[in-house]
Point group: C2
Chain length 343, copies 2
Amino acid sequence: MTQKQSSCSPTFVSVCDLSSLLEPVREDLDLVEQWLNSNLVDDSPFIAELLGQVFQAGGKRIRPALVLLAARATAAVPGSLTSLQTILAVLTELIHTASLVHDDVIDAASLRRGQETVNRKWSDKLAVLIGDLLFAQASVCLAKLSNPPIVGIYGQVLGDLCAGEIRQMRQQFVLAVDWDSYIQKSIWKTASLFAAGCESAAILNGCPGTAHAALKEYGLKLGICFQIVDDLLDFTGNSHTLGKSAGSDLAQGLITAPALFVLQRQDAPAAALKKLLQTRAVMSPEGLTQALSIVSNGGGIEATVELAGQYAAEAREALRPLTPSLYRDTLESLSDWLLTRTK
Amino acid sequence: MTQKQSSCSPTFVSVCDLSSLLEPVREDLDLVEQWLNSNLVDDSPFIAELLGQVFQAGGKRIRPALVLLAARATAAVPGSLTSLQTILAVLTELIHTASLVHDDVIDAASLRRGQETVNRKWSDKLAVLIGDLLFAQASVCLAKLSNPPIVGIYGQVLGDLCAGEIRQMRQQFVLAVDWDSYIQKSIWKTASLFAAGCESAAILNGCPGTAHAALKEYGLKLGICFQIVDDLLDFTGNSHTLGKSAGSDLAQGLITAPALFVLQRQDAPAAALKKLLQTRAVMSPEGLTQALSIVSNGGGIEATVELAGQYAAEAREALRPLTPSLYRDTLESLSDWLLTRTK
């Protein structure tokens, strides 16, 4: 397949809307969408319908896009894509969606992407099963790849996702400022899967070690950046764009970058925020509003934007060893887009 | 490794207690137990502790025992065992345990094997995560096997487990007598994993097609038999031996073999049972007691014992192509033991 022309040329316009940015892999993503809606497990129409409803709820499809771009950027025949790469993209989104469905049960969330969650729409029971079913679909895809190293990488990703959630559950209302733990949690929750997708695309292409390591590093740094921006949006977003209420992390005692930047100081705002958390006042609407404004007035937002920017720059830097192409440029532009996203 | 002497020789004594029966693979099972308690995902002591608590609750370890026996029965060096076979045994039990932990969330069960369930002891949230973590541990084991066909087999098993549960949820209080559906559900819920373990042991040993097919067929028939006996115990067991109340399937509107045998007739007991189900009277203790006695007096128990016996005989028959050994004899004896188990 030849390189496609994009209506939004990512080489020159570094930031534009995601849909235009992903134009070079639009047809690939359409194919991924068909796969996501396929019942790979059995021929039950009810199961097919459930899958359809889960994926109709949408999503940015960042993870499959990363796989597809990484694959086309490092293909032996420049810009080409094998069917195994499509399956890898599908598998990566399946694991992400499965973990979201289970997260929503765990958090008793009722909205996701502005739509009712599976647990809310049907029941916790069915949400547990649908999450498992998505993991099963992912396993079937993994088997189709017939690639033992990739099975190992994704096995570790599944473990990281669980470890991240369990760690997060245990760290609610833990106020010690520990940046290493925060970054580690971002890796477990998000960056591990981003890195797995990018690295595995290179493995399937039989890339040399440099390209392989470059893509893994890119995925890791981009994933950390993505999670930091996610944490930021919990402070700056609104329920219209986010599909959930702002401040929900803080209200649950989850201390992310914007709050950490304030808490690490020895001043009055730090003390006030600490008190609101220690007394669980953040669990009330008034307490939460107070806490959000302390973080916002205390420079927590700007410092977090800067931190995310550093990881985005490291992600871009990691791409250097790759041969220049429209796809490499798009990967680069994605890191810029991340910093501007509002949902 | 040479064949070990068993204190209960399964060749001559076809039925004895499970522990004696499994004596030929006792040391292997001890090693499996160590693996089950290992944290393969990260180095968190909390996660290691959770795993420990899940596996300390016990279990019969039938599935790993099947893998170990099938492996030793078909080894190129007779009676030997590779470390990959141990990992296969561990993986099989991990998948089983993960699905039990999630089933208990789905059924809001508070007792399992006479002990508090994970969801009851901690919370539904943690139970969802622990189930996912066990699936992740299984994926790590699967990766260690580096065997694409086995990845495919286990991917399908995961799908079957979910499909079976979803189908079961939807068939509550569906009174149409459909034996094919009942057997299919038994395959999805139980026999698929039994067959996968036995077949994969043969694959790892590089067995010829006959031994391979024989073990798959054995696992399938034994698994169906196991599920039928499970369904039977729900009618005949008590909370002391089962670790849950008798009749709980029927109270939830799950129509299994003993009830199917009564419902398929056109007589008064069939009509009475149908009415108790249609009116949901089985959900009350009095209605349930009535329904259980209709099934018991209507010959449902005896007919189910006979059905289980047929599958046990087919399982034994399937083993014929294997070279005679202590391990093949033990597999054969296991089918007899199944018919006498009380928990």
